[in-house]
């Protein structure tokens, strides 16, 4: 990869000061994300993967270190990235489409254009039919689809996804994984994806960043050499998947009791 990375993370450290003891969530983390890449951060809880994602987006501030997006130093929340939360937090007083329009309202897009883009994004996630209902009438899987549409509506260069399917049942999760993979291929955007589900990371990613906790740091970055498009039925049995799974599991297992 000779092209300049879209996202360049250098020396990020973050310590949470607690009453009992301080927790080093991230210790001097470096990472380059290539344009158009699907990259996953995998690790046990407490390894700082969500913290890193929040710092990339600007929701949280690092104690030290820098993040460059396309060569530009980031300061605060970037308008070129969007975040998909595990707790989707759709605004209950707005319709489904109203929720998707929120980021466009922030950018001063006029109403007709806003509605057009929001409708388009909801169509991409298969929810055009329910765009006028209140979000709390939707199932969890549908709500997270709205969460994805809300993020896509602002046309982000980098999409940050924080365990977006963590609260969904197995079938819904697999369906959404396939949809996200498809959207990523169609739109050609860069996705940074946080998960603790090893198979999910293999199915989705080009590269998997395995993290370690206490202190939070990157232990290994693995390439996923599986052809695309991948299917849920087939990828699990591939030799590449089996070898990656055992490698990642071994790396994660070695951390047990590591506190």
């Amino acid at each position: 990869m000779t092209e300049a990375p879209v996202l360049s993370i250098r020396g990020i450290s973050r310590t949470f000061v607690g009453q009992e003891r301080d927790v080093v969530a991230l210790d001097n983390v470096d990472l380059d994300v290539q344009k158009g890449e699907f990259i996953s951060l995998v690790g046990p809880s407490g390894c700082g993967k969500t913290t890193l994602l929040r710092i990339i987006d600007g929701l949280d501030a690092a104690d030290s270190g820098t993040i460059d997006l396309e060569g530009k130093r980031l300061n605060g929340v970037s308008q070129d990235m969007a975040y998909v939360f595990q707790d989707i937090n759709l605004l209950p007083w707005r319709s489904v489409r109203g929720n998707v329009e929120l980021g466009l309202e922030a950018r001063g897009v006029e109403k007709a254009e806003r509605q057009r883009i929001a409708t388009e994004c909801l169509e991409m996630v298969g929810l055009k039919d329910v765009m006028n209902v209140p979000p709390y009438t939707l199932s969890g899987g549908m709500q997270q689809r709205v969460g994805v549409a809300r993020a896509l509506a602002v046309k982000p260069k980098v999409l940050l996804m924080d365990e977006p399917f963590g609260q969904l049942d197995n079938f819904t999760r697999e369906a959404l994984q396939a949809e996200v993979a498809l959207l990523w291929e169609q739109l050609g955007i860069t996705i940074v994806f946080v998960t603790h589900d090893v198979d999910e990371s293999i199915f989705l990613s080009d590269r998997i960043v395995v993290m370690h906790r206490n202190p939070g740091r990157i232990v290994e970055i693995l390439d996923v050499n599986l052809p695309r498009p991948r299917t849920q039925a087939e990828f699990r049995g591939e030799p590449e998947t089996i070898s990656l799974r055992s490698k990642i599991t071994a790396l994660l297992r070695s951390q047990e009791g590591g506190l």
Partner: protein
């Protein structure tokens, strides 16, 4: 946000509960009617062998209500009271909401204001009436201002609490989508505070009636307050009871109107999330 996967579809969310709701719906109507009938029967029975000066019969009270609602002097008094009540309420609620938003949004404003707000809120505002009379005379102004004062505080305190306690997840959504501080306030914090604001409005509505009557009894004798004093002085028990019924109907109308607004305009506040 808790998610119930079974509750799919715009109209489907109550389906699982329907049998339960129907039973409740019936009991909400039938039981109160039975209770009312029993109460009326008892009242009628007791009043039939009691001095009518102490307790008038239901029929006499109904006649008194009809009389109050048709006589021009009394209807004028009622209308005057209503006008003052709603004027004071609208002013109080508007001031309370505006101050509440500022206090809830800006910690600095909260720090400056909260000692004053707490002291005034802890003071029984009726002590301010003589001062109000000195400032504004014994006209309508003093009564409206008094109603305004008593309705401001529940609105202010609830709105401030609502704006201050906006769910952190909503704020982060606004942040990551790039909403400015100002847009976050208008589009996220204030809408999110609506359940608190409605609770404040509910308190203000009941206090408005108290403010109205107290103002009319203490500032200058007009409206419902004046009628109450007249009937009391004249030992007109049936008219007193009738006027009490009319006043409570004012309250019921207010609360019902608010409930209708909650269930239509702000339906999301009553729906499960």
């Amino acid at each position: 946000m808790s998610v119930n996967v079974a509750n799919v579809g715009a109209s489907g969310q109550f389906k699982a509960k329907r049998p339960h709701r129907v039973r409740n719906g019936a009991s909400f109507v039938v039981y109160p009617i039975i209770a009312l009938a029993v109460l009326l029967g008892l009242w009628w029975l007791i009043s039939s062998f009691t001095n009518p000066l102490l307790l008038s019969s239901p029929a006499a009270v109904v006649r008194a209500i009809a009389n109050i609602l048709t006589h021009p002097t009394t209807t004028a008094a009622l209308l005057l009271s209503l006008r003052e009540m709603y004027l004071g309420l609208v002013l109080g609620v508007a001031i309370g909401f505006t101050l509440g938003v500022f206090i809830g949004r800006f910690p600095a404003v909260n720090n400056v204001m909260s000692p004053f707000v707490n002291v005034v809120n802890a003071t029984p505002l009726i002590v301010a009436i003589p001062l109000l009379v000195i400032w504004t005379g014994i006209g309508m102004e003093a009564r409206v201002v008094f109603t305004m004062m008593v309705t401001t505080f529940p609105m202010l305190l609830n709105t401030a609490a609502g704006v201050r306690n906006v769910h952190k997840g909503y704020v982060e959504v606004a942040q990551t989508l790039g909403l400015s501080e100002r847009k976050t306030l208008y589009k996220v914090a204030i809408p999110a505070a609506v359940p608190y604001v409605l609770a404040g409005l509910r308190s203000s509505l009941s206090l408005a009636i108290i403010g109205m009557v107290v103002g009319e009894m203490e500032v200058s004798n007009v409206g419902v307050g004046w009628l109450l004093l007249q009937y009391g002085a004249g030992l007109q028990t049936a008219f007193l009871l009738g006027l009490i019924c009319i006043t409570s109907i004012f309250g019921v109308i207010n609360v019902t109107a608010l409930k209708i607004v909650e269930r239509t305009v702000f339906r999301w506040t009553t729906s499960t999330r």
